[in-house]
């Protein structure tokens, strides 16, 4: 068996070849195959994401259609609640509305003034405000007042009377002085 003896020059050339090999491998993986694989993996991830979105999209569309059917009553009620409050600042329309309401009930001189307004803490009512009104009725017959209050409570579902004061009017015993504190729930303007 003949033994290959390398000269110094040949050893240098072998070493140079090895260096070249290392550089080739480094360049290949760092600048060619690596980025290509990364790009492919990213695309595969995007495909998986988009595919899952596509798969769930039909389900979501069906769910929304179903929810639309189920929420029909709620949306109707919601629209009705909103329709109870006209456009504009409540202080502009609520006092005249109360005045005309009590006038229709044959109770004159009713006045309403805003005591305060606060936002709700519940996140569901983030777009609604609570207004507290003082309704002053200087002269009312008890029976007529009772009917008017019952009618008001039924006509205005978002109105709640929290305080009631009926006082005997000294000069005309058949009439009472009435002060109501009413809370209304009104959409934010």
């Amino acid at each position: 068996m003949s033994q290959v003896r390398l000269s110094k020059d040949q050893i240098q050339k072998v070493a140079l070849t090895l260096v070249g090999f290392v550089i080739l491998i480094y360049v290949y993986f760092s600048f060619f195959l690596g980025p290509l694989n990364r790009s492919r993996n990213a695309m595969l991830a995007t495909i998986a994401d988009k595919q899952s979105k596509l798969d769930s999209s039909q389900e979501n569309l069906a769910k929304t259609a179903k929810l639309e059917q189920q929420a029909k009553a709620a949306t109707g009620r919601f629209a009705a609640f909103k329709a109870l409050s006209p456009e504009g600042a409540p202080i502009a329309w609520f006092p005249p509305r109360m005045k005309s309401f009590f006038a229709n009930q044959q109770i004159d001189k009713a006045t309403a003034r805003l005591e305060n307004s606060v936002a709700f803490k519940q996140p569901e009512l983030a777009n609604w405000m609570k207004y507290v009104w003082l309704i002053d009725i200087p002269q009312a017959d008890y029976g007529r007042l009772g009917k008017a209050i019952a009618e008001l409570e039924n006509l205005e579902p978002l109105l709640a009377i929290t305080k009631l004061s009926i006082r005997f009017s000294g000069e005309q015993p058949e009439f009472q002085q009435v002060v109501l504190s009413a809370t209304t729930v009104i959409p934010k303007q």
């Binding site: 070849t17 090999f21 080739l24 492919r40 988009k50 929420a71 569901e124 009512l125």
Partner: protein, 214 residues
């Protein structure tokens, strides 16, 4: 045996030397490996291109569906919000205290010899309803007439469906004044009644919200 003379010995030796050049062999090996790596890269690039084409197709499909899905998600969120808000508002409406039925019950309890001078009512979320009724009673036994009012009111409210009904005298005093009831002069008493109850057991009849005339 014939004698062979190799006159090209030096040239052949040089040629063999050139063929055994490690750099040349190394370069050839590197070129071979490079070619293999290039082929492998090409195969990978081909697969990547196929994936890219698939991605493009999916993105095209998604771009067609996306506006509908986004709109559906938005509508779904809106509907959920409406349902929750309506539920809270319904709860608010259902838990209101209706003064109409209470005033009717109170009116039923007032006999001709009883007069109310003041009714003060408050609705508290935690304590329920507290009403203070002040007035005068006129009878031979005016305290007894006031007690009749107290008992009747307690009975009416309990039967009316309110819970934890308590009707108590805060004050009951004889008055010096004499009243004329049915042509008879009778004594009078001043009373203050404290009425407390929980409205939960009794509900009014809330109607569907009506759209107001504008």
């Amino acid at each position: 045996m014939a004698l062979h003379l190799n006159l090209l010995h030096e040239q052949i030796s040089e040629q063999r030397q050139r063929q055994r050049d490690p750099l040349k062999i190394g370069v050839m090996i590197l070129v071979g490996i490079g070619a293999l790596l290039f082929l492998y890269y090409g195969w990978n690039a081909y697969r990547t291109l196929a994936i890219k084409a698939k991605l493009s197709a999916i993105e095209r499909d998604w771009s067609k569906v996306e506006p509908k899905v986004t709109a559906a998600e938005k509508r779904s969120a809106e509907l959920n919000g409406i349902v929750k808000t309506t539920a809270v508002l319904d709860d608010y409406i259902e838990h209101r205290f209706f003064w109409g039925p209470f005033l009717e019950k109170l009116a039923r309890c007032v006999a001709p010899n009883i007069q109310l001078t003041s009714v003060e009512g408050n609705v508290f979320e935690d304590k329920g309803v507290i009403v203070t009724i002040e007035g005068v009673a006129a009878a031979r036994e005016p305290r007894s007439a006031a007690e009749d009012l107290r008992q009747m009111l307690s009975e009416q409210l309990s039967q009316g469906g309110y819970a934890d009904v308590k009707v108590e005298f805060k004050a009951l005093d004889d008055l010096d004044t004499i009243a004329n009831v049915g042509g008879q002069s009778v004594a009078m008493a001043h009373y203050i009644l404290s009425v407390t109850f929980q409205p939960e057991a009794a509900k009014g009849t809330p109607t569907q919200p009506r759209t107001p005339k504008r």
